[in-house]
Amino acid sequence: MMMVPREEYWRWSEASWADPDKHWKDARVVTLGIDVGSVSSEAVVCLDGELYAFNTVRTAAGSVESARNAMKGVFERTGLRFDDIHYVVGTGYGRVNLPFAHKAITEIACHGRGANYMGGPSVRTILDMGGQDCKAIRVDERGKVTNFLMNDKCAAGTGRGMEVIADLLEVPIEELGPRSFDIDEEPPPVSDVCVVFAKSEAMARLKDGWSKNKVIAAYCRAMAERVAALLQRVGVEPDFFITGGISKNIGVVRRIEEIIGVKALPTPYDTQIAGALGAALFAHALYLKAQGKPQAA
């Protein structure tokens, strides 16, 4: 029997970037932040506390392998070697397993710091929609966390949930957001408490004659309602900033904004790297501190 390869609609694009106007040899302090998440892993290099380069890859079987894959891309792009890095901070689920990191810091603190860099000191509320968890974070003007909540028990409202729906509907994951608005009227949400229930409910709606776009809209609405409920527990104070892979899904983002009545701050940065960026910024502060040049960590 011949096996026909099945298209993987859930596959999101890996990304790599380096600032062409900077060179690491001109920097006094080169720091690396590595975020090993459940679905994606990122490596970010900062030069003197400023973003220089990043690489985003899908998480492999092990934390160390994932971190090496993420680092490899950024090193290939910039010509950096590991020995050129002054300080490394690990974050994310796999942070405790990284033997080459000088310190491990929680992803909550790193996302706070990263969002503060990307959105500026006016950011007060952060929603991080990661691969398998969702975090609502309040920060002060320096990006220090003042209040947080993380829900990692259930995959509903996370990137993994969106991947499941992309595969089920055979729609590339990048198209889900725009297609969710290509409907006549907003449908009621599918189940917002469980990916498994949502999946079976989506299948039932398709059998009822709903278009794929209508099902996508109902799923985006369910995700938005779920994370909005988490946000309300910590309270929403503008400016509001969204990080994580789902921040690229306009269908979910616009619906969250509608529910909470606050617009998310636009940013030119790739918000998927917020955790690793925060880790690299922490690394910069910790390196200076270790050198006797104190700076708020």
Binding site: I105, T106, I108, A109, R138, K144, V145, T146, N147, F148, L149, M150, N151, D152, K153, C154, V193, C194, A229, L230, R233, V234, F282, A297
Partner: protein, 93 residues
């Protein structure tokens, strides 16, 4: 910092909330020993304060971990909440 440890699922919201600014003032952390299920751990937060947190392995099953301290009938004050001299801890359920 207000730290919410726990989860929301189809059964409800199960969060233990710790005010780490208050918790950081406490030397002895008596809530850790007061919990019969060993739910709590002491750790250094990213800002250098030594605070109590809910153990990673127990965060997703708090409803069940805390069940013996939460009988359906008359409910005495929770041992962890009672032990905290700074009133830094609350439960959402």
């Amino acid at each position: 910092m207000i730290a919410h440890y726990g989860y929301k699922d189809a059964e409800g919201e199960f969060f233990i909330t710790i005010d780490t600014d208050r918790c950081g003032r406490c030397e002895d952390k008596p809530c850790v020993a007061a919990c019969p299920r060993g739910v709590f751990t002491v750790e250094e937060d990213p800002y250098g304060d030594t605070v109590v947190a809910v153990d990673d392995r127990r965060r997703r099953r708090l409803k069940y971990e805390c069940a013996e301290c939460k009988p359906a009938g008359d409910r005495p004050a929770l041992p962890c909440v009672r032990a905290c001299p700074w009133g830094a801890m609350t439960h959402s359920w």
